[in-house]
């Protein structure tokens, strides 16, 4: 459990843009797997968590504009209203960028609580738009917020280790 206690064990080399893009596209891929029924409402938003990681750890490299662009792609892939994901991911990236210093102060366990509120806000924005457009509130959708929060630790550890792999190779 040593990785839980320390968020940043050592000084890290710069991250390649390739890793950032690959992780976001991988997350898009995971999101578009054929989830069905209950699994669909329990599905964590991989894209949101991956983007939040980059927004908090590399706020200058991956910012609000990138999140918005990824949101547009997510809208196309989900066939949702143009700008619906884009809006919620903009809010997500804003939360990540503004709180990036603060979140990096904490260890992974404490980060999870911080991240929960950002994700909750993101999900709430999406659900709000849906409610405005379709006139029904889908409460089951908000379950995904919890599973996404649970995904924060694994994704952080995974992306962290991938960044280190790069360092080892060089």
């Amino acid at each position: 459990m040593s990785y839980l206690s320390q968020a940043h064990p050592e000084i890290q080399r710069p991250v390649s843009n390739l890793l950032i893009m690959a992780s976001v596209f991988g997350a898009l891929l995971l999101n578009s797997l054929p989830w069905e029924g209950l699994w669909l409402s329990l599905r964590p938003d991989f894209v949101a968590v991956a983007m939040l990681y980059w927004c908090t750890h590399k706020p200058l490299r991956f910012g609000i504009g990138m999140a918005w662009a990824v949101g547009i792609l997510a809208d196309v892939s989900d066939a949702s209203l143009f700008g619906q994901h884009a809006l919620s991911y903009t809010v997500l990236a804003f939360g990540g960028v503004v709180l990036s210093r603060r979140i990096q102060m904490f260890d992974l366990r404490e980060q999870t609580t911080q991240v929960f509120f950002i994700l909750l806000l993101t999900y709430a924005v999406y659900a709000l738009v849906h409610w405005q457009v379709n006139g029904q509130v889908a409460w089951s959708y908000l379950l995904g917020c919890l599973t996404s929060t649970l995904l924060w630790v694994p994704i952080s550890v995974l992306l962290q280790s991938m960044r280190q792999m790069r360092v080892d190779r060089e």
Partner: protein, 299 residues
């Protein structure tokens, strides 16, 4: 830690707050334009070129599994299926001959009565590649798109009944809104009594409901609903649903009628897309034209 970036030596552009406002307003504008005017379909189909490889990759494991399953099927089961299909074919062909005679007779009678002929329609086969992407929606994507000359508004059915309607066409895919989508309307007729009504999708379940039917309406449990062909969107006489439950509460003016779709709305993989439906004579311009093809048929 990334503390090398603490100093504000370089210009980093607008503050996060300004960016948030800019992109939020941009998103809201896009949503407004998309919801109200639908100008963005071309942009969407252009971007879908970027996204469709990802979607394709995501459905690949399922497709592979399906194909391997097909390949490894035992010979005995193939023989059995073949035999069953043969039997069914014989049964069906007898009925088909009869129905062709009836069709001919019907045509002559309609000629005699100077009524409009029921036109034939052609079908295209399609396969579901991608199902229910969003918790909120009842939509599927099929593997035929604009390149196979699919158009928005075409009717999709399986061997048992209506499944839905094509609502958005991409170059190589198209999106089908299922009849169980909330507020999706199909003009129907009760096969037994000829009563006209409209079946609406319930949205949260795989069922349909008939709205605005008076409590005294002549409808029973088990009645078959077929498309009425009114509005020209759906060809007449295709099964849509079977009445499942009728709630007649005298406190309400309308009966609460729940039906189950006859087509395997949530089941099958192979579908038929109907094309070349006969065009109806132009409707007089009294009411404003409905903006979405899925919401038409509401008369």
């Amino acid at each position: 830690m990334d503390s090398t970036q603490t100093f504000q030596v370089f210009n980093r552009g607008p503050s996060p707050g300004a960016r948030l406002v800019f992109f939020a307003v941009l998103s809201l504008l896009l949503m407004f334009v998309d919801a109200r005017f639908g100008y963005l379909e071309s942009a969407r189909s252009a971007l879908s070129v970027l996204v469709s490889p990802i979607q394709h990759l995501a459905t690949l494991p399922g497709t592979l599994w399906h194909k391997t399953g097909n390949f490894l099927v035992a010979q005995s089961s193939l023989l059995e299926t073949n035999k069953a299909l043969h039997r069914q074919h014989e049964r069906d062909s007898a009925q088909l001959v009869q129905s062709q005679a009836l069709l001919q007779e019907n045509r002559q009678l309609r000629n005699l009565l100077a009524m409009q002929q029921r036109n034939q329609f052609s079908v295209q086969f399609a396969e579901i590649v991608y199902a229910e992407i969003d918790v909120f929606k009842r939509k599927v994507l099929i593997n035929k798109g604009g390149s196979a000359s699919i158009q928005a508004g075409q009717v999709v059915m399986d061997d048992k009944g209506i499944i839905g309607q094509v609502t958005r066409v991409y170059p190589r895919l198209s999106e089908v809104t299922l009849i169980t989508e909330k507020n999706h309307a199909v003009p129907v007729q009760v096969l037994r009594s000829g009563l006209r009504s409209i079946a609406f999708g319930a949205g949260n379940t795989s069922q349909l409901s008939l709205r605005y039917m008076p409590v005294s309406a002549d409808i029973q449990k088990g009645d078959v609903l077929v498309t009425s062909g009114i509005d020209g969107l759906y060809p007449p006489g295709i099964p849509v649903a079977v009445v499942e439950k009728i709630g007649r509460d005298p406190a309400y003016p309308f009966a609460n009628i729940i039906c189950t779709p006859t087509g395997g709305v949530d089941k099958h993989r192979h579908l038929l897309v109907l094309s070349a439906l006969p065009a109806l004579p132009e409707r007089p311009q009294a009411a404003p034209v409905a903006d979405k093809p899925g919401k038409e048929g509401g008369n």
